[in-house]
Amino acid sequence: MQVIGIILILISVGTVVGPVGAVAIIYRDDLSQLVITPQIRDIINGNSPIIPVNSNSNVDSGGGPNLGGLMSPTFVSAQVDEATHTFTATFKITNTLNYDLTLKSFSANVEITQNHIQASSLSLGNPVTVQAGETAPLTISGSWTQAAQDYIINNYSSSASVEVFIANAEVNVNGVVIQSSGTIDAGNIPFNVVG
């Protein structure tokens, strides 16, 4: 009976000490890696290839955050209805992750950089699912303000483009809502694109 008691104690101790001791020996050179592996440390520091968003690389010419990194849109074409002051723009969006992403919603305001004139509001036409590492078309609809139209006619008559930025952008990707309180430089929009 005494022997059985000792065997049971040995089993109790061995089942815990064995696995824990084994990993402690494996990571004996740096015991902190028992809890925080290099992979986890990279995620915490924002340097992980799993999430290609680096907080240090998001300052653009407008001084605000850039929502790029997870997705990179490329302009394809646009249709404009001058009578209703509305337009539809088509982009190609590339999913840089090794994971399928669904862009559920997008909304933003567009302002003319000079004098911060409210130019337009944008929204996503339909939710878009982009397979891992692939590209899919994306339709953004919007309308422009009469004030912006008047401002451009009066101030950009001799220009071929207007510099704009995006403000108050809100993106919903896979239920993750990213809201930017800053501005995103959208560069120069050529007038021939929007008619």
Partner: protein
């Protein structure tokens, strides 16, 4: 009356071994971040699975503790089975005392661990998540680029193996109580013989 086997302990032993196999594949508790999920945490005492954008993250010390728990439960289940077949031996009490506690400890430590994890994650990262239910949680500012607010849809809940584990723990306790009856029956004096 002599009992040849403790049937409740036998069922408890089989259930304990079954619980280990189930718990490897089906989590006791699951947290999904995003919709569709971009990250998930699947937890059971024998397997903790962190999935971020399709990448599995392993924490060595947790992995070791999972193996320890699996070995501990397995030893408990096997000892319980051995006891159930020989409940009247002099060493039966020791076997039962060793075996019946394992699933009970697993359930209790799991619940304590879940509350501790919830508290510690909130304490050190500022990210609060529900143990049961769904909602929307903001990421701490340190985890988002400057000027950007990130809100994620999270949902969490206990899976059926958790409730099965409670049943197994209950069976083990019932086996312990039933052992008293077996022991009492064993010690009954023989019935008086008719003259």
């Amino acid at each position: 009356m002599q009992k040849k086997i403790n049937i409740i302990a036998f069922v408890a032993g089989i259930s304990t071994l079954l619980l280990i196999v189930i718990s490897i594949f089906v989590p006791w508790w699951q947290l999904a971040v995003g919709s569709p999920a971009i990250a998930s945490v699947n937890v059971s005492p024998v397997n903790l699975n962190l999935d971020l954008l399709g990448n599995f993250i392993t924490i060595p010390i947790i992995y070791a503790l999972n193996i320890a728990c699996a070995l501990s439960l397995a030893s408990g289940g096997i000892i319980m089975l051995i006891y159930s077949l020989r409940p009247n031996k002099s060493y039966s009490n020791k076997l039962l005392g060793f075996g019946y506690k394992k699933p009970l400890y697993a359930v209790i430590l799991f619940v304590i661990g879940m509350f501790a994890m919830s508290y510690l994650v909130q304490r050190f990262s500022g990210f609060a998540f529900p143990l049961i239910g769904s909602g929307s949680q903001s990421l701490p500012q340190g985890m988002a680029p400057n000027g950007v607010n990130i809100e994620v849809a999270v949902s969490a809940g206990f899976g059926w193996p958790f409730y099965f584990a409670i049943v197994v723990a209950g069976l083990c306790v019932a086996a312990r109580l039933y052992h008293r009856k077996i022991a009492a029956d064993t010690m009954l004096p023989p019935p008086p013989q008719k003259q």
